[in-house]
């Protein structure tokens, strides 16, 4: 499943501050040679690839970009770094390790290169892999500038989602009885809320359900839209039907940290006697993971329910 884009023909939506920080680091490096390597961190579907693509577009003549799409197993894959420009962008660096014995040789080589090469490294990482690598390699020491991509506001979400349509092409239909909502006992204690239009209610709800994650917002939008019409009640938060067991939760944490992974790679990570096929089938049936070209990834709608659950097990933090 590809990462949804936040790109517009005239640039990207959001990330203005982040682009400014990166451009400033590039400018300093060009002027003074002082390098401050950058790590861009986000949850899956959070827009880091879109951001790095935008940076590449702005600085197309002076940067080289490498993207990894699966776990790197061959050290020769890093040789390409030698021939790159002085500003090097490496997308999806979490593919440089595998959580198994002997699975860290590539990232160790990469981390030896980062301080020794006279190049500015602009890297993107899955935020859960990043936190894991901080604990085992102090990886944050190699990248003085860390940019955690913020969630979109409901206005940015609206701008992003409506950018694909002409004005008034989408019809927003009010279908929630607000009188009923006001009659609940809790509403007595709430501050009086401003009357919200169906349109604003839709985007506010999408923002809440997606946690401001632009990729997930787009997927929720696509699934809720019917014949160019959308209703607030069609936007529903995902909830886990049953609690995964510890082995299943561990596999979910690996898939979450890697963004996508195939079965052979999972088999190398988990213990051989684990019934992997059965677990993957169960997780898929529960709507927690998706399979695309034999690669497993977290189902976007389920992402934040899964993260909350894995945090309870302390498998991610």
């Amino acid at each position: 499943m590809s990462e949804a884009t936040t790109e517009l023909s005239g640039g990207v939506i959001g990330f203005k501050d982040e682009i400014a920080i990166i451009q400033s680091a590039i400018s300093d490096f060009k002027k003074t040679g002082q390098k401050s390597n950058i790590a861009i961190l986000s949850d899956p579907f959070g827009g880091k690839t879109t951001l790095i693509d935008e940076i590449e577009k702005i600085n197309s003549e002076i940067v080289s970009k490498i993207s990894f799409s699966s776990i790197v197993k061959n050290k020769d894959s890093l040789k390409v770094l030698d021939q790159s420009n002085e500003i090097l962008m490496v997308d999806d660096c979490h593919f440089l390790y595998m959580r198994k014995i002997g699975g860290f040789a590539i990232i160790e080589d990469f981390l030896r290169m980062v301080p020794s090469y006279n190049k500015l490294f602009i890297t993107t990482w899955n935020s859960y892999s990043w936190r894991y690598l901080i604990e085992i390699f102090d990886i944050d020491q190699f990248f003085p500038i860390q940019i955690n991509l913020p969630g979109f506001t409901s206005t940015e979400t609206k701008e992003l989602l409506l950018s694909m349509y002409d004005m008034d092409q989408i019809k927003f239909v009010e279908d929630v009885d607000k009188k009923k909502i006001r009659s609940t006992p809790f509403s007595l204690f709430r501050k009086r809320q401003k009357a919200m239009t169906a349109e604003n209610e839709v985007f506010e709800k999408i923002k809440q359900v997606s946690h401001g994650n632009p990729g997930i917002a787009r997927i929720i939008w696509d699934k809720s839209l019917e014949s160019q019409t959308i209703k607030p009640s069609q936007i529903k938060a995902f909830s886990l039907r049953s609690k995964p067991e510890y082995n299943e939760a561990f596999i979910l944490s690996i898939i979450l940290s890697m963004k996508s992974i195939n079965k052979e790679e999972l088999m190398e990570i988990i213990e051989p006697e684990s019934p992997l096929d059965m677990i993957l089938y169960k997780l898929s049936k529960e709507g927690l993971i998706a399979v695309d070209e034999e690669r497993y990834s977290i189902m976007p709608e389920a992402l934040y329910s899964i993260i909350d659950f894995l945090k309870k097990f302390k498998l991610v933090w």
């Binding site: 959580r99 014995i101 604990e135 085992i136 213990e271 097990f313 302390k314």
Partner: protein, 273 residues
């Protein structure tokens, strides 16, 4: 010599209704304590990292429930005067002296455990000859679940006479020490790297909050000891964690010709000379 004048203690009239009321209060207290204990135990399993916080409320609530029950029995139903109260206390003192002093010591021990917290529900402790997870702190005894799944009731008064070792002190995470022994001729540095990776890739390891792990090497006459110190995410997975790291580390050791110590018999060879 001063003349001894006996205190006139008015007779306490206890009728059947009073006794039944007292029994009813005790039964209600007992049932309430059981229900609260059950509900909070179930709830604690749903709240993840706050499991032990919820579980530790159980013994405190039990004491409060039984305290209220006793207060009601003595205060409202028996309606004792101060003289009767003193007389009752004297009788209680005599009873403690003669027969129920152990029970009394257990109850006091229970209060000390609740207040001083040498251990809490959910901790892994060693008290006396027993090691296990504290599953309940009752009025009379503390219940431990041992690694071989045996429920042991340890009298609370042991807190006054025995030292208690708590491996977790209220935290759900726990440090686990894993020892592996290799032959001195094997590549110890590489073995340490393998053990380090076995620890940090284990599904049971707890890494955040800078509770890092460490690997140590120690030299002995006929072997080398590799020691890993790391935290397990939940103290209930202590042995699974040890087993997982040991199994995977030895799997890699055997692939990389790192061997277990050879059996050495002292004096072997000297007799042949």
């Amino acid at each position: 010599m001063a003349e001894f004048s006996p205190i006139d203690v008015p007779l306490l009239e206890i009728d059947l209704i009073t006794i039944l009321n007292a029994i009813l209060i005790l039964v209600i207290a007992y049932l309430s304590a059981r229900v609260i204990s059950y509900v909070l135990t179930r709830f604690s399993e749903r709240v993840g990292r706050y499991r032990l916080v919820v579980k530790n409320a159980i013994p405190i609530l039990k004491w409060i429930i039984y305290g209220i029950a006793l207060y009601n029995i003595f205060g409202s139903i028996l309606t004792l005067t101060s003289t009767q109260l003193i007389a009752m206390a004297t009788l209680l003192g005599a009873a403690i002296g003669f027969g129920i002093k152990d029970l009394f010591a257990d109850a006091i021990g229970g209060i000390v455990i609740i207040l001083e917290k040498p251990y809490q529900v959910g901790d892994k402790i060693k008290i006396g000859q027993y090691y296990g997870e504290v599953v309940d702190i009752g009025i009379r005894s503390t219940r431990l679940m041992t690694p071989d799944d045996t429920l042991v009731s340890v009298p609370n008064y042991l807190i006054f006479t025995q030292s208690v070792a708590s491996a977790t002190a209220g935290n759900p995470e726990m440090m686990v020490i894993i020892d592996l022994f290799i032959d001195p001729s094997s590549d110890a540095e590489f073995a340490m790297k393998i053990l380090r990776e076995a620890v940090m890739t284990s599904k049971y390891v707890y890494l955040p909050k800078k509770q890092r792990f460490a690997i140590f090497l120690d030299d002995f006459p006929f072997y080398r000891r590799l020691r890993a110190k790391a935290y397990v995410h939940d103290l209930r997975a202590e042995f699974e964690f040890k087993s997982d790291v040991t199994r995977r580390a030895w799997g890699e050791f055997s692939k990389n010709s790192i061997q277990a110590p050879k059996v050495t018999i002292l004096g072997e060879g000297l007799t042949k000379q």
